[in-house]
Amino acid sequence: MDEEATRDFNERCAQCSEVNWGLTDGGRFYCRSCHNVTERTREVVNTDFITNTRVQTISKGSRKQEKTDGGCEWYVCEGFQLVLKKQAEALEALGVCPQMKDEVLWNFWRCYLQRSKQAYCIRPAGETVKALSPQVCDSSTDVDSDPERPSLLHVLSLSESEGDLQTDNSFASSTSKVSECTSLCSGSVDGSLYLKKNQKEKLRMTMPMTLSFCYMALLWLREPVTLSDLLRFVVEGHIPYLNVFQHFPEKMKLCGVDLKIFCVESWPAYEEVYNKMLELAVFLELPRFPDITDSCFLHPDMLCMKYLMEANLPDELHNWTCRVVKKIGIGDVDFLTLVPGNKSTAKVKYDILAAAVIVVVLKLLFLLDDKYEWLLSDFAEERNKNNKEGDPYFEFQKWYKVIKCSLDAKQKKLDEERAKYLWRCEKPLFYSAKMKSKVLKRRQMVVNLQNQFGKLAGSVRPAEKPNPSSFQLSWSEENTDGSCFHGHSLKGILQEKCGLLKPMNPDYWLCTVKLCTERSCGHLAHYSREEDFPQSYHFVLRLFSFLLRIQPSYIHDEVCVIEQKLFNKKFYKKAKIQHRSKEIKRPKNNIIKTM
């Protein structure tokens, strides 16, 4: 944005006495009203986040200032830059260190622009903008149902095949040519080309990818925000995402293909954002990320503590999660730290990993086979009745009741909130100027109807934004109703042996005998409600699925992976023994002893 860069240069133009400066690629100021170039150059290279990144725009000649509709010329990447800026500001307001916005994210973005050859590079001569058939658009930013689109794109591709947008020299004239003939279909200069470029070597920017950028920056700084937290903040409206275009300057008009790029029609999905982040890290050729050590929030020991608190489980369980983490080495720095492009290292989803560890610990201690946990609970209840001294023994049944009650209520509220989500903003978008009056009329009618039925509903407006918190459920020991289990003791389920505390539970069942390969079916394991897992197991998965706002199957997959690591050696040995002795007819009938 030139405005930002030329903010400090306030002299009047010698020719027309306007104060409306732009920057040339030589770093000189030129007057945007009369195109008079001054001798003055910029003295300081401004590294402010939102500086002049569009070196390219200037090399293409002066920014065409006014279009007929009062908008200015702008490029898609400028739009994304604004989105990133808004998101970074929001994160900063949430307490993320300012470094993230001004240094990390900014550098990532600059690097992206350079690698994708959108700026900070000399456009290689002879590079052709291939007019490929329009790519299938991203699922989350769609205007698919717009009936006008296909025909327009058809017109576009025709007009482009005649224009030769090949060299820098011809670019200036041809852009205006393109923008003239595309003014119907995109507000931005390169919107229509943007969706068509061959993206094999260039990672095309999308709206979900803005969040990948944010998460990558957070990860780089080891900020105490998990991806599931980030996405939840987006949905709760603390981070701009949906309708973020309404914060664009007045002169940046969006229409046509721009809608496809910037309009969001769905909430970001965990997998999509995560995978794009990995891709992005490789694309930018980033080095190894800062180490995730055991003092980091993202370390499983730390996250387990957080989730144990949120799940209202006894603090003592933390001891056991730490033991599991240590035993299978998922607390190691090398395991946890992201090394872009290194295929041999695991790609860790910290939040899911921690939740899965807790599930495994619950299975170790309580078995979760719909029998044993209730049996233990009965013993604990009996003991608590007879003995009121000291910390009460943990009762699974009581915990289940409290959690279920709370979860049901929260889930119901969440479901209703989802149905009540308002997707549209006051500034409606229209595909073309032709549609403008129709769109505005629709908008007005929607507002009228909302008012009319709002009155009948007792003027219920959308619920207030909840305060941003990394905790969705909170339990306090101060509550005297006994609904907090943090201080409860595990004594009832442990027994001392050789001076060591061991769980009474002698058994374990595996969620799966063999992991699938991700390459063959896309999943490591398979989870569905119909599967014959115990109800308690389903319940625990759903609890964490609610906390992380992800599908239970993700956690299940991770549980399977952890179990394999935990038992693989023993299991393997067992299977061999069984095979050799042929005592067991079903080799799947694996026997696992607990730790």
Binding site: L449, W509, T512
Partner: protein, 466 residues
């Protein structure tokens, strides 16, 4: 492949012994005690996109909340969710069969009709918005609006709205919605008829006082013309137009155009393009009766009614008319008609119907002619009428509630089922006990004609008994 959870025997850490055949330590002790019950939304299978909410899914969920609330008559809650659903208009390209705008129209109408805080003013403004929202159903919305106004007694407003709708022009849409236009015109005609009818009554009242008002009379005639034109149009189209037909015939009869009226009614009743409509025959019959038409034409009108609705209340009239006929064929039909009437539960306790049947049966038995008719009618009913009409329980009930009913029924039962039938036995016994003369005569009559029962139920032939 995920394995089902398996539980195995206790294993000590030190010794790696396979003891899988040993019974599981925990489960042997306890029956399954507390299986957690999951709330219904947990039972939904987890699809891969379950957690990715998009505009469409969000609005679909909203719609189902609205439907739930409406089913439970929670109008306030329905209105609340509707405020969020209306956003889907901004995505409505009317590709789907029932698009959001139609949903909003229907749901909104329903809420405004039932919500305690809604007013007619609000309803009107909503309807005006809905009219601009979808030109494709402009006239449907207009009609719905008019119905609501009529239900609230706002006849003048309704009339005004109909006139406005009638003059609506919107390119080819006007042509596409020509059926709706006809309906709109027809309803306007109906309202004109109402006006006419009011003025007619006024004039008739004042006429008796010797007071004449020319302008009122003129207005009445102009109403007649307006109504007649529109009503005539709609009833040309195949359909069920009872209200319109009745009004139109009333107008015609008042002005003495009986031929036209008869033609209209005959067309309405007999044109095969029109859906089968019993009322059409009723109207025709009533008209013919008013006109003092011949028995023959009356019978043919009712015959049609009998074919479509054998349980119609006019069937008694029909039966009586047939009974009086000299032709055997018609009397035969009369028997059929009265039997058919009593096949229906609604007639079970109708004394008139039973006495009609009893009378004809008595005639047949005494004359001993046409027993074959009786036999034929009875053969399809002898399986189920005894339980349906002639159980001991019903005998007791009828006797207690209505003695004349039980008398008629007992006569029928005695003839059809013989002197040993449960119903006859019970009722005649009670009657004789109460020393009622007609029951004693009845008993004698049945005993005397008992062989008839043998013959119609096919006993005498097969067993060779007298």
């Amino acid at each position: 492949m995920a394995a089902a959870p398996r539980k195995n025997g206790l294993l000590e850490e030190e010794e790696e012994v396979v003891r899988s055949s040993a019974p599981p330590a925990g489960s042997a002790l306890l029956p399954p005690l507390y299986l957690p019950f999951l709330p219904p939304h947990f039972y939904q299978p987890a699809s891969s996109h379950e957690h990715k909410l998009n505009f469409k899914k969000s609005k679909q969920a909203c719609l189902s909340y609205i439907q739930d609330a409406m089913l439970q008559k929670q109008w306030k809650r329905a209105a609340e969710f509707l405020t969020f659903y209306v956003e889907s208009l901004e995505k409505d390209y009317s590709k789907e069969h029932v698009g959001p705008s139609e949903m909003i129209w229907r749901i909104g109408t329903e809420i405004l009709c039932h919500h305690s805080h809604s007013s007619i003013k609000e309803f009107n403004s909503f309807m005006e918005q809905m009219k601009t929202l979808g030109v494709k159903r402009y006239l449907k919305v207009c009609l719905e609006h008019v119905f609501h106004l009529l239900c609230n007694g706002l006849i003048d407003e309704a009339y005004q709205n109909l006139s406005l709708a009638e003059s609506w022009r919107f390119g080819e849409q006007t042509v596409i919605q020509d059926k709706e236009i006809k309906l709109i015109q027809a309803y306007r005609g109906l309202l004109d008829y109402c006006k006419w009818s009011k003025q007619k009554n006024m004039l008739l009242e004042h006429g008796q006082d010797g007071f004449e008002d020319l302008s009122v009379e003129q207005e009445m005639h102009s109403c007649f013309r307006k109504a007649a034109v529109n009503l005539k149009e709609i009833i040309k189209i195949p359909g069920v137009w009872d209200q319109f037909v009745k009004c139109y015939v009333d107008l015609l009869e008042f002005y003495g155009d009986h031929n036209e009226a008869r033609q209209v009614l005959q067309e309405y009743a007999y044109n095969p393009k029109f859906p089968a409509n019993p009322n059409a025959h009723v109207y025709l019959y009533q008209f013919l009766k008013r006109q003092g038409e011949s028995k023959k034409s009356l019978i043919s009108a009712l015959k049609n009614l009998h074919d479509t609705v054998p349980s119609h209340e006019l069937m008694i009239d029909f039966h009586l008319m047939l009974q009086k006929s000299k032709k055997r064929k018609k009397r035969r039909l009369g028997l059929e008609v009265i039997f058919a009437v009593l096949d229906y539960a609604g007639w079970k306790e109708n004394v008139k119907a039973w006495s009609c049947l009893a009378k004809q049966l008595k005639q047949i038995v005494i004359s001993e002619k046409h027993l074959d008719w009786l036999k034929q009618e009875w053969s399809s009913r002898k399986d189920w009428w005894p339980a349906f009409h002639f159980s001991r329980y019903l005998g007791k009930k009828n006797w207690q509630e209505n003695q004349s009913l039980s008398y008629e029924k007992a006569l029928v039962a005695g003839i059809l089922l013989g002197k040993d039938g449960k119903y006859f036995k019970y009722v005649s016994h009670q009657g004789c006990k109460a020393r009622m003369k007609r029951f004693r005569i009845l008993k004698k009559f049945v005993h005397k004609h008992n062989p008839v029962y043998m013959r119609i139920s096919g006993l005498s032939e097969s067993s060779g008994q007298p």
